[in-house]
């Protein structure tokens, strides 16, 4: 298979919070930051990741709107929808376009504006990706699937609510070092579990998951610009190569999985991505995992291969996943701290890893990071895209 190398030459991001701007402008703002970062004024093609604009914002064909808002016409543009993995799916499409030789410079933007609707409609919109006849009709939502998953994980592997709270504390601490992160609040395990206020400040959302186990509903946009070697060589920034892409799927209904505590799509996608890059899980220096719920960071850290199955929470206890640990996970704050504008998340993960590998992450910089990894988790683990990045110098 002859493929060209693909490099990240520009990155941009908006604040993840409630944004009072039209969705098109949220995507275009991040895109302009990325163009400035890359020092380019033209791209060959644009992929825009978004999941729910039809229902959330009454807007469709976002790609066409963004390319025109950026005055980049007549470049080609497409909207990529793959649930919460839309972002990494769009990065993967950009990778394919450059690697194949079809295009030299491709812009990949992701954006979502979820707070234009009320929280009940936002929850319902996200729940629309569950099985329409066997899950959705019952009132199944993503938090409820995560709740049922968490209960099994606790029963089987001895994960406790304190472990879950430790993920929340770690990621919100990291988010305090990220000015673009949605949640800017210092919390402690005692404060959200043991204090007299805990019952009111941290109520159940989907037992046994509590408020602080769930990511916020955010607006936001992120962008990366991918290019072939000839273009990338002209860049003054340290070169970061997108070295591996992997994707795998699993059953639509969670109940159809033989072992409901396994996330086989994560396992498959991560293995593919790392193999393509020619590295092992132990070679990864920094990772952004899809912690839409705290339990998912623990489970994914095992399925990717950083820790043995059932031991992720033990590594967490020892601080191995914190900023100064053996394998820092979610230095950006993750979905928990940075926020989760669904379509933007996968691109924001790529943004953070590029920043880390360039050495531009300031207070939250992971020292000597050369290999970075992202896991973008679609549905409840039924469609997962993993990316591996390497610093080239």
């Amino acid at each position: 298979m002859i493929m060209r190398d693909v490099f990240v030459i520009g990155i941009g991001i908006t604040s993840f919070t409630r944004l009072e701007y039209p969705l098109t402008e949220i995507a275009a703002y991040a895109a302009m930051m990325a163009m400035k970062d890359a020092g380019i004024s033209k791209v060959d093609h644009l992929y825009v990741a978004n999941m729910g604009s039809g229902r959330l914002n009454r807007q469709l064909a976002l790609g066409s709107a963004v390319v025109d808002s950026l005055s980049l016409t007549p470049a080609g543009a497409e909207t990529i929808e793959n649930g919460p993995a839309s972002g990494a799916s769009a990065v993967k499409q950009g990778f394919l376009a450059v690697a194949s030789g079809l295009h030299d410079v491709v812009m990949v933007a992701g954006a979502e504006r979820m707070r234009e609707v009320n929280p009940f409609d936002a929850t319902d919109t996200v729940a629309m990706m569950t099985h329409p006849l066997a899950e959705y009709i019952y009132g199944v939502t993503l938090p409820s699937l995560a709740g049922m998953f968490t209960r099994l994980y606790m029963e089987k592997y001895g994960v406790t609510e304190r472990h879950l709270a430790m993920v929340a504390v770690k990621n919100q601490d990291n988010a305090l070092l990220n000015k673009f992160a949605h949640i800017q609040q210092k919390i402690t395990v005692e404060g959200i579990l043991d204090s007299p206020e805990a019952m009111t400040n941290n109520p159940f959302v989907a037992e046994p998951l509590r408020f602080f186990d769930c990511c916020p509903v955010s607006d936001g946009g992120a962008c990366v610009i991918l290019a072939c070697a000839d273009v990338a060589k002209k860049s003054k920034k340290p070169l970061v190569r997108l070295a591996g892409v992997g994707q795998a799927t699993d059953t639509h209904c969670v109940h159809e999985r033989k072992e409901p505590t396994d996330l086989l799509a994560v396992r498959g996608a991560a293995a593919q991505s790392l193999k393509m890059a020619g590295v092992k899980p132990s070679d990864v220096n920094v990772a952004e995992l899809h912690d839409a719920f705290t339990i998912l960071e623990i489970a994914q850290s095992e399925e990717v291969g950083f820790f043995k199955k059932g031991e992720g929470h033990l590594a967490l206890e020892k601080g191995q996943t914190s900023l100064k640990g053996k394998i820092p996970i979610n230095p950006s704050g993750g979905l928990k701290g940075r926020g989760h504008p669904v379509g933007a998340t996968g691109v924001a993960q790529a943004y953070e890893i590029t920043l880390q590998l360039r050495g531009e992450a300031k207070e939250r910089q992971v020292k000597k990071a050369r290999v970075g990894f992202t896991c973008n988790f679609g549905g409840f683990g039924n469609n997962v895209v993993c990316l591996t990045f390497m610093r080239e110098d």
Binding site: P119, F120, D121, T123, D124, A127, H131, L133, A134, E135, I137, Y138, G139, V140, T141, P143, S144, G147, M148, F149, R151, L152, E155, P203, F204, V205, A206, E207, P208, L209, C253, V254, H255, E256, P260
Partner: protein, 115 residues
């Protein structure tokens, strides 16, 4: 006629599926819709469950019980639970009842009770 929820049995290899899928997961050899319908058993054991508090607009309740149940024939199903103190592994019995109602629509599904 009593309401039923059906499993789908592949006419080529006999593998049971729930919910419906077009192509058999086991043998992949069936033609479109080449399944026999078999009513789902009502008895089973609770594999996992949750009570969820942030509900879509269609639900005018404070919290909703949801669970995954392994039925007598080994098939699993997601459903609502009406069990005050659920425990993993407990025996449950299902009934087909309205599970989602809004202005224009009433959907039926399996609701489980302690057996």
């Amino acid at each position: 006629m009593a309401l039923e929820i059906y499993a789908y049995k592949c006419k080529k290899c006999g593998h049971l599926h729930y919910p419906f899928r077009m192509r058999c997961k086991e043998c992949g050899k069936n033609d479109q819709f080449e399944f026999e319908t078999v009513p789902l058993p009502r008895k089973g054991k609770l594999l996992t469950f949750t009570y969820v508090y942030n509900l879509p607009p269609a639900y005018a309740v404070a919290k909703l019980g949801l669970g995954i149940v392994e039925l007598e024939n080994g098939l699993r199903i997601t459903g609502q639970i009406q069990i005050p103190e659920p425990k993993i592994g407990m025996k449950v019995t299902g009934a087909v009842e309205a599970v989602r109602e809004d202005e224009y629509d009433r959907r039926y599904g399996m609701v489980f009770y302690a057996a």
